[in-house]
Subunit: 188 residues, 2 copies
């Protein structure tokens, strides 16, 4: 029951059609929420039936017409209520973490390779986020309102990637140390 509300946030920022929303999700709200276009279409249809959004068919030259959705008054009220509702403690879920925990029941070298690959992915994403930040928020001290919130959430995305990199480095270092133990007291 939360994709609806994420869409209300996105449509409050800017009315849009299904595919546009899907694309925006990938590049901005998508730090912390992901959805396929199928799901977005279905939820938009339900939201329209519930009167949370209004639709306007917009013809385009050289392209099929699109249905542009905008938040209605009742949708805005729903969003307002939702924003004031406490969130239950959120569960984090990571397949990689399960693998790291289970490493000793498989080929450890192969698993370390998997971890290194994941670390590279997070590194790449971190760089991407930092570029976004430099491009879109060159003067963070001056922001207010929606822009301030958007920047703070992007900061969260950056912090999250930093968390991953630090943790995975921790893991890799510990297993390097275990593989090549440094003898402190006696040596060769």
């Amino acid at each position: 029951m939360a994709l609806e509300h994420a869409l209300l946030v996105a449509l409050s920022e800017q009315p849009a059609a299904g595919l546009e929303l899907a694309r925006r999700f990938e590049k901005s709200i998508g730090f912390f929420w992901h959805a396929t276009h199928q799901q977005i279409y279905r939820v938009l249809a339900r939201m329209e039936a519930d009167g949370w959004v209004t639709v306007e068919e917009v013809a385009q030259t050289g392209r099929p017409a699109k249905k542009v959705y905008a938040v209605s008054a009742s949708g805005a009220a729903v969003l307002r209520d939702w924003l004031a509702t406490p969130v239950p403690m959120e569960a984090f879920r990571s397949e990689l973490a399960v693998k790291m925990r289970g490493a000793s029941y498989g080929d450890r070298a192969a698993l370390l390779e998997v971890v290194r690959a994941a670390r590279a992915d997070h590194e790449a994403r971190l760089q991407h986020y930092r570029q976004l930040e430099a491009r879109d928020y060159p003067q963070p001290g001056q922001l207010t309102g929606a822009e301030l919130d958007q920047h703070l959430v992007l900061r969260g995305g950056i912090r999250l990637e930093e968390f991953w990199i630090a943790w995975l480095d921790d893991y890799l270092a510990a297993h390097d140390a275990a593989a090549h133990p440094v003898k402190k007291e006696q040596s060769a």
Copy 2:
């Protein structure tokens, strides 16, 4: 398709029945994976049908008999293969993050209260994890094998909670600053 493998990891550490597994999930692997007992029962049944685990009915005094599951040879092979398989980039999903982004479309004071409550939850969980670490891993430098991995994953849980607290503090501080702006150049 990943709960199966998480269960294989848990059962490799220690054979167990459905409810025991559900409870262990809550307190250890549960840092990074959560599952209800219903789901665990269903998946265990499927895994047994697939020959990944073996079952032994164990009678108990004063309690209903339980079905203790253990990893079979073919289950161990499946786990081994899975551990060596690369993980696709994982999507993080947070309702709270969406709310923080949408704050300006609702009552900001109410939302800041929601954020403070979430911060308190993460703080409490962090303290809990730190106690677990002090109790179960007093000498982290000496660990090897499965214990080392378990400790490193707990370290990940700790780092994750630290990420949340730092981020939420960031958010709260920015909105405090926006509410009570400090005039640097001119004052009163």
